[in-house]
Symmetry: C2
DNA sequence: AGCTTAAAGCTAATACGAATAGCTAACCGG
DNA sequence: CCGGTTAGCTATTCGTATTAGCTTTAAGCT
């Protein structure tokens, strides 16, 4: 039997591709093994467990998402950057539903690598919002708001959650414009005095 | 052996309670059986499958969420209603993480009962936004925006996704205020001319 | 080249959860 | 009290993750 010449990264990559095809939660060791051309137990020479494989898919997906967002927003600032960020986010999610599902999974509390991959994506968002939205620590609030909104829309859309017959593109534009309007720095912070 | 006096609703209710304790995806037939005091196969006298149990939990959860939102917003209108809706939503999600995870699961396309349970929740949101936000069909955009934002925030928070040391309550207030500001009807619709 | 060795792959076996089959006994209506 | 319905049980099957232990490849060294 000739060797398949497999490496951990190849197994993870196959898992990520499979996730987009059959859904993240339906990725099994058996399916991945078939995809890479080995028997199921052989995968354990490259990944520790199904959970470890999922973690690997999540980290790879976060990096790919971060790359896509960074590419989409380079050289832009202000509302243009926010819009480009939002558009790239939605497109990436629609193109990679399984990978996106993987990114939602929260890292274990002590998993530095996984956490860093998520932080890197967040950093891009903070950069996009720098010089836009509220100044100082308020940027974190703005980033959380934008991230929540985009994540929520993406997750509802990819779950088929929008039943009504209204154009989803238009609703997305509305959402992004609403946030941009609301985020303009010349409005009260809303958080009030405390703290 | 005395009978346990079980009914389908009791099995579903036990599953919902368990979901909040161990996580929706970790609810198993075995755990539910132990909780209601029977052996695992006996559950199949009351629910068709694990998938059917999950569906039942989802429907029950959507109804409970709808009740909580309706109670919180009755008699209110305008920004007050939106704020009350948002606060009730977040509180309910934090109190019932497993049930909330169940509500995210999209219904099967032909599942009328499940779909209706979700629609009923959406209707409350539409009522809250009536007379606020953009008029006419734009209300749907506004509802999607608010729903996306609240869902995204809830899902990120309950997944532990906010790593930075900034008060999460404050970020939530900021998000809601940002949307209220952005949703005021005296702004352009953002969708542009094409129609 | 020939030897050694780490690791990649295999088959076989274990563990566990979902689901089914078929039996038994508890309740319900007469 | 009697018969039928059905909740619950034990035993079993099946699918998937995982482990154990063997075999063979391939790479490095002399």
């Amino acid at each position: 039997m000739p060797r398949a010449g497999l490496a951990p990264a190849a197994v993870v990559a196959a898992g990520a591709a499979l996730a987009d095809e059959v859904g993240f939660t339906n990725v099994s060791m058996g399916l991945v093994a078939e995809r890479v051309g080995v028997r199921t137990p052989s995968l354990y020479k490259h990944v520790d467990s199904l959970d470890a494989l999922r973690r690997g898919i999540a980290i790879q997906a976060k990096r790919e998402l971060g790359d896509a967002l960074a590419r989409a927003t380079v050289g832009l600032s202000g509302p243009d950057a926010v819009r480009a960020f939002a558009d790239a986010h939605r497109r990436w999610v629609l193109d990679h539903p399984g990978r996106y599902a993987a990114t939602i999974r929260a890292p274990e509390a002590d998993d530095e690598e996984d956490r860093r991959a998520g932080d890197d994506v967040l950093r891009i968002l903070l950069d996009v919002l720098a010089g836009f939205g509220p100044p100082g620590a308020g940027t974190i609030d703005a980033a959380r708001a934008l991230r929540s909104a985009l994540h929520g829309f993406a997750s509802l859309e990819s779950a088929g959650g929008f039943g009504l017959p209204r154009d989803v593109d238009r609703s997305y534009r509305f959402l992004v414009d609403t946030l941009i309007t609301g985020l303009r720095p010349d409005r009260p912070t809303g958080a009030g005095g405390a703290g």
